[in-house]
């Protein structure tokens, strides 16, 4: 039956993450953006909430909770409201863990999942994006070729979060015309981590280029073994996660500019009392809510294991536009004050524009 109310458990998780986002992330996000560093202590605190390991089965060291794309969406929104770079950093191990958990072979699960259920945060990541015009997840340039008992991978990847410290990378490559995942352990010959990237936004998140030069991995490292993975589903889980994050970033920008507009006086009245400003805010609020509901609906389809490519890609494209519209308007509402780095809205605009690029950089 149609309902828009999260479960009590989900509400508790949201409250916990919201508090963390407000108390911890919001205190340091600017410093992190300027320095490009996120203090380990914040990541550790976040890790202790068990956001990733909670849905991994107990057999592999997790808490065995239900894995739900809706819960994931709720968490993603709150963390991204705190700060997008930190959110992506905190949840980065899920990029590796969730596909392995859902689609990996028994031995892959046994071997790799305990690593992301550690008490201490340990980075694992995934590499999807490629540094070229016309990048298409369904038609990757990176290739995987079977050769005896091994796969040989070749290609260039970019926007790989935490590649330098990650012990495990799930690399997506083209094989027989489709996209498949390959588990590569740190130090494997032919896997080269490039320079840290410099991007317009998410500056606190360490992302890297990655090159694969005749990188050989054992056959059993193909995600899902012979069966392979359901790549469409991985992409859809990513689209939903990113849409939820876009909602979080947009909500941050909306709330800040709304509060500012009520305080900033011009011509004797708060600027929020003018329709030119108030209507911008109203439209921002409407679009944020609409995107959240569409995200939930797509997540709900994912939970039911239904085909969700249409819903997920519709909401992702909508969220890309929404995040840009909302963060841009937040800057506009603050005017000159929005353009200076003293206020957070310019940061949210830089981060908000990124969603259209961030394929595969988050997952529920």
């Amino acid at each position: 039956m149609i309902s828009f109310s999260p479960t009590e458990e989900q509400q508790m998780i949201v409250a916990m993450v919201k508090q963390f986002a407000g108390d911890e992330m919001r205190k340091i996000y600017r410093e992190c953006d300027e320095s490009g560093e996120i203090p380990d202590s914040v990541i550790d605190t976040a890790w202790n909430m068990g956001l990733v390991s909670s849905s991994i089965p107990e057999d592999y060291g997790g808490s065995g909770g239900e894995h739900s794309a809706i819960t994931g969406s709720l968490i993603n929104e709150e963390l991204a409201w705190g700060d997008l770079s930190m959110a992506m950093h905190i949840l980065c191990p899920a990029l590796f863990a969730y596909p392995v958990m859902e689609m990996g072979t028994d031995s892959q699960r046994k071997k790799y999942l305990p690593l992301v259920c550690n008490e201490k945060y340990r980075a694992a990541t995934a590499a999807l994006i490629e540094p070229r015009f016309g990048f298409d997840p369904n038609s990757l340039s990176t290739t995987a070729r079977a050769d005896g008992n091994e796969y040989v991978l070749n290609g260039e990847k970019s926007y790989v979060p935490l590649a330098a410290e990650a012990e495990l990378v799930l690399v997506y490559a083209r094989e027989d015309g489709g996209s498949q995942g390959f588990i590569i352990e740190k130090g494997t010959k032919g896997l080269e981590v490039g320079e840290r990237e410099k991007n317009m936004g998410i500056k606190a998140l360490a992302t890297y280029e990655l090159s694969l030069k005749n990188c050989r991995v054992p056959k059993e490292n193909r995600l899902g073994g012979q069966k392979g993975c359901d790549f469409d589903r991985i992409m859809n889980c990513s689209r939903v996660a990113l849409s939820a994050m876009a909602v979080g970033v947009a909500r941050a920008a909306f709330e800040f500019s709304r509060d500012y507009a009520k305080e900033r006086v011009a011509f004797g009245e708060p600027i929020a009392s003018r329709q030119a400003i108030a209507f911008m805010l109203a439209e921002m609020a409407i679009e944020i809510d609409a995107t959240r509901l569409m995200t939930w609906e797509a997540a709900w389809k994912l939970n039911r294991k239904e085909e969700a490519t249409k819903e997920a890609s519709l909401v992702k494209a909508y969220a890309d536009d929404m995040a840009l519209m909302v963060t841009d308007r937040a800057v506009q509402i603050l005017g000159g004050h929005g353009y200076v780095r003293e206020h957070p809205v310019e940061l949210w605009l830089r981060n908000g524009r990124g969603f259209v690029t961030f394929d595969g950089m988050a997952i529920v």
Partner: protein, 395 residues
């Protein structure tokens, strides 16, 4: 638990309403668009017979919105012709006593199709409903109504074609402003009330839109909805009007959504016949302009629909939904106006031609951005709510 699964009853309702839309509405859609003031008698009779069977039955909940979408997918003008309590009934529900509900809604129990209507707008007062100048003066055990109401949807059918009623908004004390605003039920045939001028409209032509004039029109004292007292600081009467809108706006949004889906379905069917597939999941820079348009239209349709269902769901939880209701109406009005206009563009000569219904849907859609509060008024309500501003703080 967040859930989007429809109940078996809701699915049944959708199916039955869709069948009606297809079998009963679509075949006569063009005819009643071109024969503006003719009555679609067969449709009216059928819908009257089928009232209460769970398909055509009206209401203000999620299930009703889903059925409304289907019926308006059939034809939004004919949808408005469906006999029943309508907006007048909604007003009685929102601010009438139990006794009044029983008394006034009894007229819908008969054999003859009957309508309820609501009269709010005046020539000089549209969205500024507090500026209403129609008056109600107490005279012993009666109220005497005077004034002119325009744009009364289904006013002719309520008052001339059946023994229905109209809920009229009038002031009992002009000096009290909004606190003086009250609503009154005026049954068909009351002396001093007459229907004038049937509007000729851009769309939804099957529905009637009339002027109703009150000239020393006398009604019983207990036909007032809510308290007759005027407390200067209290605007309960007006809040009654607003409460009505909180319930009706999402239903209007659902009407819009139905028209929008009709246009979308038409476009998608045409593309499918031409062998054009929308490649969901393809990167945006690789999509054609057409694919991007279609995807944007579909997303906007979905956005409007989910906002609408949420507004009604909140109401069903007994929570205030004024904000969500206005959000839904704003989004739906705008989204569906754009979807239908874009559909005409995409379909080119097929879109503009009266051979097909698409051009009609574009005309029909526009009303949803206007009645029950224009998009701008709903944007204003939304803005006030999110800013926590009064009407004085945000004009």
């Amino acid at each position: 638990m967040i859930d989007f699964e429809l109940t078996p009853e809701q699915k049944e309702g959708i199916k039955a309403a869709h069948e009606l839309a297809k079998e009963l509405f679509r075949p006569v859609s063009r005819y009643y668009d071109e024969h503006e003031h003719e009555s679609p008698q067969e449709l009216i009779d059928t819908m009257w017979q089928r009232r209460g069977d769970g398909t055509a039955a009206m209401g203000m909940d999620v299930a009703a919105a889903l059925r409304t979408e289907e019926l308006c997918w059939g034809d939004a003008g004919l949808y408005l012709c469906i006999p029943g309590p309508g907006l007048g009934g909604a007003a009685v529900f929102a601010s009438g006593t139990r006794e009044q509900m029983t008394r006034f809604l009894a007229v819908f129990g008969g054999d003859k199709p009957t309508w309820g209507a609501m009269a709010m707008t005046e020539p000089q007062a549209g969205s500024d409903t507090a500026a209403i100048s129609a008056t109600a003066v107490r005279d012993g055990e009666e109220w005497v109504l005077n004034g002119e109401k325009i744009f009364v949807t289904m006013g002719k059918r309520a008052l001339e074609d059946s023994d229905g009623f109209v809920v009229v908004w009038a002031t009992v004390d002009k000096s009290a402003g909004r606190a003086g605003m009250k609503s009154f039920v005026v049954p068909a045939g009351t002396p001093g009330m007459r229907v004038e001028k049937m509007e000729k409209k851009l769309g939804i032509r099957a529905s009637d839109t009339v002027t109703v004039v009150f000239d020393n029109c006398r009604i019983p004292f207990d036909n007032i909805l809510g308290s007759p007292e005027v407390k200067k600081k209290e605007t309960k009467g007006f809040r009654g009007a607003m409460a009505t809108f909180d319930a009706t706006r999402p239903i209007i949004a659902a009407q819009a959504i139905g028209v929008g889906r009709a246009a979308l379905d038409f476009v998608k069917e045409t593309l499918e016949n031409e062998g054009i597939k929308i490649r969901y999941g393809t990167p945006r820079q690789k999509l054609t302009a057409l694919e991007r348009d279609i995807m944007e239209m579909e997303a906007n349709y979905k956005a409007a629909k989910l906002l609408t269902l949420r507004a009604l769901w909140i109401m069903s939880q007994g929570q205030p939904n004024s904000l969500e209701s206005s959000m839904a109406k704003t989004k739906a009005g705008l989204a569906i106006t754009r979807i239908t206009q874009k559909a005409v563009e995409i379909m080119g000569p097929l879109g503009y031609s009266r051979k097909h219904l698409l051009e009609k849907w574009m005309r029909d859609a526009k009303i949803n951005d206007i009645f029950e509060g224009t998009g701008q008024i709903n944007m204003l309500v939304t803005a006030r709510r999110i800013l926590n501003y009064s009407r004085d703080q945000l004009k």
